[in-house]
Symmetry: C2
DNA sequence: ATTTCTGTTCCACAATACGGTACGTGATAT
DNA sequence: ATATCACGTACCGTATTGTGGAACAGAAAT
């Protein structure tokens, strides 16, 4: 089903460049205009994109996709199992709490409860980030086999995102050993001025599927803070894992 | 492109029933097993679904769709334009502030800032709701033409969601006239014990594209509260509309 | 006025999606 | 132990349908 593959590529291209026209998409994808045009019409007919209200026919996403996004990974009952603990964590720490899932060598942020403080760290929901430098990512990596970590490290190197530092494989391994020893991961190198602590969440099959983190501006973060936050995460993580397993 | 249409239907069906097998999908969609099977393989190859880790092959969504979700409707710079005002509104009211967009006769909740209070109203992000009973929905409806309201009313009746009351068309019209007069909409019938006030956000093309609301538990809500909240929403709404227009 | 972009339409060809049928395999029932 | 069922998968001949080059009209830029 080559047409499906193409249509999905067009869909993603629309998402990345909306509002966008046929020709730009065609050159972007290296596809004939006719093919792209046909894909656009089909996607429109299916209700996934709509013509923008501008002059020239520009295309943009409908919210059809957002329905899917919400269901992704929902069959574990992950959100439902984790949200109460996130609420509790925010209450106990007054800092921003994040829930990120593991997907295809990256992590995706799917839920967030914000710190009530004026100065706080907020990442966009649905955003993707490297696993090698984030607290959530490292917490998950520490639970994977050497081969899996190798693959993710290689994929990250290959992706070559600008602005995302990539640690050497051996340096990463040392970090991961520390994470395994402690049971949680920390980061201060992901976002400037933000210190984060994360623990992995283990799915029914025994592998890590997500991670929970607390992000604190370094101006508010001290040794005592960090210790209590790590302990709270370990406690809640254990409770969540018991419930899911 | 019939195959694309089918594949997208399969994708949505997987989302609704994951983890799910070929046969169930086939009977659900009224399609031959072979076709569904082919669609599944294609979707897998494109990275949108993955086989679940069981004996029988069950399919589930990857987080590929989450990339799209973040971009849906984002090209106005809507979130960026509105978020500062949401922050300010929460600071001023200490109640939960919601941002919902108008999509295909329903509203979709895309951003939320929570009340710091222990008792608070929280709707799931990405969730959809009827336009006829929510404060956000009515605020938007009041800006649409009679024909558009007719169409949305009809679509809502047809959808026939259990648990969602549908007002009569003429009663709705009376309500909308009141909303037009005041400039904002209110609701206490959407969620039990929650009073909400909403204003519409007008896009560059002049039509309503979203709405902002404040939700207050009725135990905390009094006449004075409601007046100040409505006034704050009107002020911020006007500022946002100026910036977008 | 001319050029160079758009987005859209047309068409002959062959690729490929189609869906009925059949096979292997576990689970359940007899 | 045997029979039956439901499931996921593989096969295959047919014709449906996606394909992409080329040509078109209109708008914007030169």
């Amino acid at each position: 089903m080559n047409s499906v593959r193409k249509a999905l590529l067009v869909l993603e291209a629309v998402a990345d460049h909306q509002p966008v026209g046929v020709s730009e998409l065609a050159s972007q994808l290296g596809q004939p205009k006719s093919s792209v045009q046909r894909a656009l019409e089909t996607l429109h007919g299916a209700g996934w994109i709509r013509p923008s209200s501008g002059e020239r026919t520009r295309w943009e996403l409908t919210f059809r996709a957002s329905r899917l996004a919400r269901k992704a990974g929902s069959h574990f009952g992950l959100r439902e199992a984790v949200l109460p603990h996130m609420e509790e964590l925010r209450r106990q720490t007054s800092e921003t709490v994040h829930l990120a899932v593991f997907d295809d060598s990256e992590i995706v942020l799917i839920e967030r409860l914000e710190s009530p403080h004026a100065v706080r760290h907020v990442e966009p929901l649905g955003g993707r980030a490297s696993m090698l430098v984030t607290a959530t990512g490292k917490a998950i990596l520490a639970r994977l086999s050497t081969e899996e970590v190798d693959a993710i490290h290689a994929a990250t190197v290959e992706r070559n995102d600008p602005g995302t530092p990539v640690p050497q494989r051996d340096a990463l391994e040392l970090e991961l050993e520390e994470v395994r020893r402690l049971g949680y991961a920390t980061t201060s190198s992901w976002r400037d001025g933000v210190f984060a602590t994360g623990v992995a969440i283990i799915g029914p099959s025994g592998g890590p599927i997500a991670a929970l983190s607390i992000s604190t501006p370094e101006t508010r973060s001290d040794e005592e803070n960090r210790r209590t936050q790590a302990q709270l995460l370990l406690d809640h993580g254990r409770q969540i894992n018991e419930r899911l397993g």
